[in-house]
Each structure stands twice: as structure tokens, then as C-alpha cells.
Amino acid sequence: MIGLTYLAAILATLPLLLILVHLVRQGASSLSVSFFTNMPKPVGEEGGGMANAIVGTLVLIGIAVAIGLPVGIGAGLYLSEKKTTPLAHTVRFLSDVLNGLPSIVIGIFAWEFLVRPIGHFSALAGGVALAAMMIPLVTRTTEEMLGVVPTSLREAALALGYSRWRTSISIVLRTALAGIATGALVAVARIAGETAPLLFTAFGNQFWSTTLREPIAALPLQIFTYAISPYDTWHQQAWAGALVLISMVLVISIAARVVTRSRFGAPVD
């Protein structure tokens, strides 16, 4: 029976290795400098790239971080300081609810408020949808990381005459900064690859656009479009795009681990 758990461990890590190996093999062959600098080309033309989709994804992440990070950290500060107020319990519960909602439902929400009234898709709507996914993640890790800061530190600052807000921000928050950065990176890694909430918000765009009021291209959307197309050249492009996307996600995930480790030593089991 003990052997069976070894087998389970092998079987569980196998798909990851298979996916990564296949991605590198398929993606690397169609990856070149032009992939990063060129625009998508029509079927049959060689040398198309995903420059607009890569930039689009960065823009969407930028919007999500600009909205989601401050709100998430603010809410995390609130939760760590007002642990037992009715609002704190409600917020904690609802952030779990929000975190468990299907991402397509969040896409519908952004569509209803930011696309329907305006009448066209926009980068802003996509960014807001991603921010809505990011907020609960950042909130909970911030609360957790602030909880680790010793109370004595806060008390020392207050005893020295620091006001409450300065204690919270320049002592407590600063002490927990590495942990919060990790949480933020994990959240970014998670939203970077999201496709469903962008389907009817950011929508995708075959052309160059960085305007927040217009539809914008995104790497995951482009991969989706190319993957379900019937053309071999587009399939190759999809693999290359997937390789770029997953490299981004893995680099961010590993960076998150490194940040924690350098600050707190090896993660505790």
C-alpha cells in the first residue's frame, strides 16, 4: 500500500512533465524574435507574431494590479486589525465566495457593468474582471502575512509615539512586505493566464491597441482562437504563445517562492 502512494505521486506529477515537455518541443520550434515583434498575419503568411497580444496581456495585468493590489492590501490591513468585527467576518466569508466563483461569471459581471452600457468591448472591462479575481487572493495573503508580524513590534512603535496609521504602514506592513509581495505575485500568476473572463470584456483584437476604451488583444485569447482554428500554421503559433504564457507564469511563480525564501528562510512545512 505504501508503494501505491509512491505511484500516486508519480502519476500526479506526470501530466505536468508531459505538458511542459510537449510545450517546449512544439513551442520552441516556432518561437523566434519575430514572434515577439510582429503582428498576427493572415492564414498562409509566414512570420506572424503575437506582439500585440503580449503587450495586451501586460496592459490587462497592469490594470488589474493597479486596482486589485491597493484594495486587497487595504482590506487585508482591515482584517488583520479588526479581527472580530461583524464586517471582518463577512468580508472573510465573502472573499472566499468571490475566490470560488467561476471566472466566467466574473466576466459576465464586468460585461454587464462596463460593456453593455457603453456598447463595445474594452480593455478596461477586462482589467476590472481580472482585478475582481485578484482582490480576494491579495486580501487573504495580506491578512495572513500581517498576522505573522509580532505584536511586540506594533506595541514598541506605539510606545515610541508613532501614530496608529504610521505604525500600521511603516512598521507592520513593511515587516510583512516580502510575504505580501509573494501573495501579489501568486495572484498575478493566476490571473495572467485567465481566458474566460476576457472572452466578452477585453474580447481580443487583431490590431495594435493599447487604448483602455477599445478591445485589446490578450495572449490567452489569442492562444484559444488559434488552437480551435483548422490551420496548422495557427496551431504552431498557439503552441509558441502557450510557451511564452507559461514561461511568464512559471517565472512569476518561482520568483514568488524566492522572495519568501530569501526573507524567511526555507518555507515551513
Binding site: M1, I2, L4, T5, Y6, L7, A8, A9, A12, T13, P15, L16, I19, I73, G74, A75, L77, Y78, L79, L87, T90, V91, L94, S95, D96, G100, L101, P102, S103, I104, V105, I108, F109, W111, E112, F113, T139, L160, G161, S163, R164, W165, S168, I169, G193, E194, T195, A196, L199, F200, P220, I223, F224, A227, I228, H235, L245, L250, S253, D269
Partner: protein, 323 residues
């Protein structure tokens, strides 16, 4: 004179970092409370957005929207039963595959793994959760589906003679409920295993030591003392994985075949609620069509909400008994 002493006092305040804190504190409190309020506001806004938009469809079609199988946009019939069926069945298939594997990994990591393997294996399994679903879908289309069509499906149907049962019969096209289930299993696995690992590690030492002292082998200890203790937490982890599987959109849309039919065979293509929305939403032709899709989204919202609430409650029960 007063102004000089006031200035002196001000400078002294600054060097001592004492300031008139009342205003700063009030601003700080307002800002953090407002941030905290964003979360309830978001959830309420999402619920209102979807339920209000779904209202016309519910009013006209009632419960038939999830019980009827007739989805005919031009004729004004909106019955999403095949999608509801597909959502439930694909998630069940996923759990049947993922649960034993995930618990196996969790037991391995918490009990048997050599210390040097614990970190890397745990990291690799966690990474499964970091892979974007569209990448799973891409891999599903070009690697998993051919594999299922050429090797796994014929093996199940002919070599194991499971073709005699309705569940594994019929032609092997590739895009199918089975493909969706396998992809979802891979995606749900890290959620189930990480929660299970945590609750297994939370089982008190005394529980293990008592079993060993009674003469149990290590395996018997785990089977009879550790797993029963952690059971409700593990079930919570499974429910959490289920919540993920029910709402997963892209990977499923890419491999399930998107055919709105109810079939007993796992080899047949199917549909899910999420993929129905993903496929039709941006080209919804009229208000009733849109409202019907919203109603499907609202149903999905309610189902995942219930599943997640049960999951959190179960995990919370275990972690509470620990502390």
C-alpha cells in the same frame, strides 16, 4: 514668542515622530474600511448583475431552463438540461479520477516521502494549479484527445470489454465527456491534494503514536487513525476541487465537443454550462437569448456557491478542532 515656541514644538514633534495623529488615523481607518467594503460590494454587484439579467428568462421559462433539452435560439426555446448534465457528469468523472490520486499524493507527502523529495514533489503538484486553463485545453486538443481516441478508448471498450455497458460504448471521436473529465481531473488534483496534505499534517502526534503503540503497522496507522481523523477535511478538499471543476470553462470548452445532447456514454461529446455561456454569449442574438444565458450563469453561480460553502465549512471544522 509664541510662534517660535510653536515652531520648536513642531520640530520636536517631527524628530520624535509624534504627530497630530487623529486626522491621519481617521483617514487610514476610512481607507482600509472602504477597501474591505469593496469585497461585499463586488459580490453583491455580481449577484445583482446576473440575477436581474436572468429574471426575464426565469419569468418566462421557469424551471424548464434547466430541465428541458430543447435549445433552439431561433424558435425561442431555451432548455439547458444537456449543459447541466454535462457539467455534473464531467465533474464527477474528474473527481473519480482525481480523488484517489490526490489523497495518495497527500499521504505520500505527509507520511512516507523521503525528506528531500517532499519539497520538489509538493512544488510540482502545486504547479499544476498554476498552468493556465487555455494551455490545458491546447494540450488536450493535440495530445490528450488523440491519445484517448487511439489508445485509451479502444482499450476500455474492446480489451476490457466495457463496451457492453452503456458508459463506454459507441464510436471514439475524441472530443468527449471522458476527455473533459480527464482534463478536469488534472486541474482539480492540486486543490484536493494541498488541502488533504494540510489536514493530514494537522492530525495530532498522539493519535499516530497511540495507533503505533497498539501494534499497528505504519499503513494501518494511516488507515485507521490518521485518515478517519482528517476525513471531513479531506472531503472539504474534494468539494473545493469540485467547485473548481464545475466552473472551469476554457479547457472543457476546447475538449468536450460542445454538442448539446445527453448521452450515457462517456465517449460521446457533451456540453457544459460554462462552455455554453462561453460559446454563445458574445453573439447572443436577442434579449431573451442573452437572458437565458444569464439564467444558466445564475444557476452555475448558485451551484458553485453551495459546493464551496460546504467545502469551507468542512475544512473549517477540522482546523477548528486542531486549535
Amino acid at each position: 514668542m509664541t510662534s517660535i515656541s510653536a515652531r520648536w514644538l513642531e520640530r520636536e514633534r517631527r524628530t520624535l515622530r509624534v504627530d497630530q495623529s487623529a486626522i491621519g488615523d481617521r483617514i487610514y481607518e476610512t481607507v482600509t474600511t472602504a477597501s474591505a467594503l469593496v469585497i461585499p460590494a463586488l459580490v453583491i454587484a455580481i449577484a445583482i448583475a446576473i440575477f436581474v439579467a436572468a429574471l426575464p428568462a426565469f419569468a418566462r421559462l421557469g424551471i424548464s431552463i434547466v430541465t428541458s433539452s430543447d435549445w433552439d435560439v431561433a424558435g425561442g426555446h431555451f432548455g439547458a438540461a444537456p449543459a447541466v448534465f454535462g457539467t455534473l457528469v464531467s465533474s464527477m468523472v474528474a473527481l473519480v479520477i482525481a480523488t484517489p490520486l490526490a489523497i495518495g499524493v497527500a499521504v505520500f507527502l505527509s507520511e512516507f516521502s523521503p525528506p528531500w523529495l517532499r519539497q520538489p514533489v509538493g512544488f510540482l503538484v502545486d504547479l499544476l494549479a498554476a498552468i493556465p486553463s487555455v494551455v490545458y485545453g491546447l494540450w488536450g486538443i493535440f495530445v490528450l484527445i488523440p491519445l484517448l481516441r487511439e489508445k485509451v478508448m479502444p482499450f476500455l471498450r474492446d480489451t476490457l470489454h466495457l463496451g457492453a455497458t452503456p458508459f463506454f460504448s459507441g464510436a471514439a471521436y475524441g472530443p468527449s465527456m471522458l476527455a473533459a473529465g480527464v482534463i478536469l481531473a488534472i486541474m482539480a488534483l492540486p486543490y484536493i491534494s494541498s488541502v488533504s496534505r494540510e489536514v493530514l499534517l494537522a492530525v495530532p502526534r498522539s493519535q499516530r503514536e497511540a495507533a503505533l503503540a497498539l501494534g499497528a503497522t505504519r499503513w494501518e496507522m494511516i488507515r485507521d487513525a490518521v485518515i478517519p481523523y482528517a476525513r471531513s477535511g479531506i472531503i472539504g478538499g474534494i468539494m473545493l476541487g469540485l467547485g473548481r471543476a464545475l466552473g472551469e470553462t476554457m479547457a472543457v470548452t476546447m475538449v468536450i465537443g460542445n454538442r448539446p445532447e445527453i448521452s450515457a456514454s462517456l465517449f460521446a461529446p457533451g456540453y457544459t454550462m460554462a462552455s455554453l455561456i462561453a460559446n454563445e454569449f458574445s453573439e447572443a442574438t436577442n434579449d431573451m437569448h442573452l437572458s437565458a444565458l444569464m439564467a444558466v450563469g445564475a444557476s452555475l453561480f448558485v451551484i458553485t456557491l453551495i459546493v464551496n460553502a460546504i467545502a469551507r465549512w468542512l475544512v473549517w471544522r477540522v482546523s477548528r478542532s486542531r486549535s
